[in-house]
C-alpha cells in the first residue's frame, strides 16, 4: 500500500478547487474570484492500491512573498516537499499561468502540469500542443476538464508515475540574463555549503538575490528545528501549514 502527498498549485480562477473536489469527491462550493481559497483544504482519495493525500494550496499568481497566500503556498512546496505538485493551468490564459509553472519547476522537479478548462479553450478556438509544452518544460503535461471529468484518469496515471519514480522529470532551467547568472554562480556554492542539499540551491540563490527576507526568516526558523535526515520524512507527519 503506497501513500503519497500531492499539492495543487495554480493561479486563482483556474478551476483548482473544482479539480480538488473532483478528486476527493468532497463537495465544496467553489467560488469564482481571486483569492477565494484563503484556507487550504485537504482531502484524501485512493486509487487501486495507492492512497493520495491532496492539499489545495491557495490560488496565487506567483510564489514570491507578495502575500500571506503566496508564502503559505511556497512554504508548503519547499518545506513539506510533497511527492508530487500538480500545477493547474487555465488553458485560456496559458501565458500568465505558465509563469507559475516555471516558478514551481525551479522549486521541485516532481511536477505534473495540468492544463485545465481544455474544453473551454477548444470552444474559444485555442489549440494547444501539449507534447510541445511537456517537452519544453521537461515534465508531464496533461489536458483536463475538471468539471466535465475529462482527462482525470490520465492525470492520475502521470501523478502516480512521478510519485513512484517511474517517471523522473527533468525540468527546464530558465536562463536568466548574464548578470544574474554570474551572481547565481557565485552564490550557489555558498548556499550549498550552508544549507546542504535539502533545498533547491538555485532557487534559494534567486530568492536571496531578490532580497526575499521573509524566506530567510522562515529558513532560519526551520534550521533551528531538528533537521530531518531527508526531506522525504517531512511528509509523514500530518501537520500542514494551514492557518
Amino acid at each position: 500500500m503506497n501513500s503519497y502527498t500531492i499539492a495543487l498549485a495554480g493561479n486563482p480562477n483556474t478551476g483548482k478547487s473544482t479539480l480538488f473536489n473532483t478528486l476527493t469527491g468532497l463537495r465544496q462550493h467553489t467560488g469564482n474570484w481571486a483569492g477565494k481559497t484563503v484556507v487550504m483544504a485537504e482531502g484524501e482519495f485512493s486509487r487501486g492500491n495507492t492512497t493520495f493525500r491532496i492539499i489545495d494550496l491557495p490560488g496565487t499568481y506567483s510564489l514570491y512573498s507578495n502575500s500571506a497566500d503566496e508564502e503559505v503556498a511556497r512554504d508548503y512546496i519547499i518545506f513539506e516537499q510533497p511527492d508530487v505538485t500538480i500545477v493547474v493551468l487555465d488553458a485560456t490564459s496559458l501565458e500568465r499561468n505558465l509563469n507559475l509553472a516555471l516558478q514551481v519547476l525551479e522549486m521541485t522537479p516532481r511536477v505534473v502540469v495540468c492544463v485545465n478548462l481544455i474544453d473551454e479553450a477548444k470552444r474559444l478556438g485555442i489549440r494547444i500542443d501539449l507534447e510541445k509544452i511537456s517537452q519544453r518544460l521537461g515534465v508531464p503535461c496533461i489536458a483536463i476538464s475538471a468539471r466535465n471529468h475529462i482527462g482525470i484518469e490520465n492525470l492520475l496515471d502521470q501523478v502516480e508515475k512521478v510519485a513512484n519514480g517511474t517517471i523522473v522529470p527533468n525540468p527546464v532551467q530558465i536562463t536568466y540574463s548574464d548578470q544574474i547568472e554570474s551572481k547565481l554562480a557565485q552564490l550557489e556554492p555558498l548556499i550549498e555549503k550552508t544549507l546542504g542539499s535539502r533545498f533547491p540551491t538555485r532557487w534559494i540563490a534567486l530568492r536571496l538575490l531578490d532580497g526575499d527576507e521573509s524566506l530567510l526568516r522562515t529558513l532560519k526558523k526551520r534550521m533551528q528545528e531538528p533537521a530531518t535526515s531527508s526531506g522525504k520524512e517531512c511528509l509523514t507527519h500530518g501537520q500542514t501549514v494551514c492557518h
Binding site: 499568481y61 490564459s93 501565458e95
Partner: protein, 84 residues
C-alpha cells in the same frame, strides 16, 4: 515614427498599449509584474467602471481592473491591435 508614452489611465478605451515603464514600487510592483504588466507586453484597455474608476485592462488574455492611482503610474505607447 516617434510616439509619446502615456499613462494607462489616460489611454482610450479599446486601444492597445505596449508598456514601457512601470513607476510603481514595492509589493504592488511585484504583483503587477506577476499579472503581466511587464515592459514590452501589450495591454488592451477594455472598459471603465460605471463610475469612471477603476478601469479594466486585458493582459495575457485575463482581465485585471486597476484603480487610477495605479494605472496612472504605468506607461506605454499606442500600438496597432494585432501587433505582437
Amino acid at each position: 515614427m516617434p510616439s509619446i508614452s502615456i499613462p494607462l489611465s489616460d489611454a482610450l478605451m479599446g486601444s492597445h498599449i505596449c508598456l514601457d515603464r512601470i513607476d510603481v514600487q514595492g509589493i504592488l510592483r511585484r504583483r503587477l509584474l506577476d499579472l503581466g504588466f511587464v515592459p514590452g507586453n501589450i495591454v488592451e484597455v477594455m472598459q471603465k467602471s460605471p463610475l469612471g474608476d477603476p478601469i479594466a485592462f486585458r493582459v495575457n488574455n485575463t482581465i485585471i481592473a486597476l484603480r487610477k492611482e495605479e494605472s496612472s503610474l504605468i506607461f506605454g505607447e499606442y500600438v496597432g491591435s494585432d501587433e505582437k
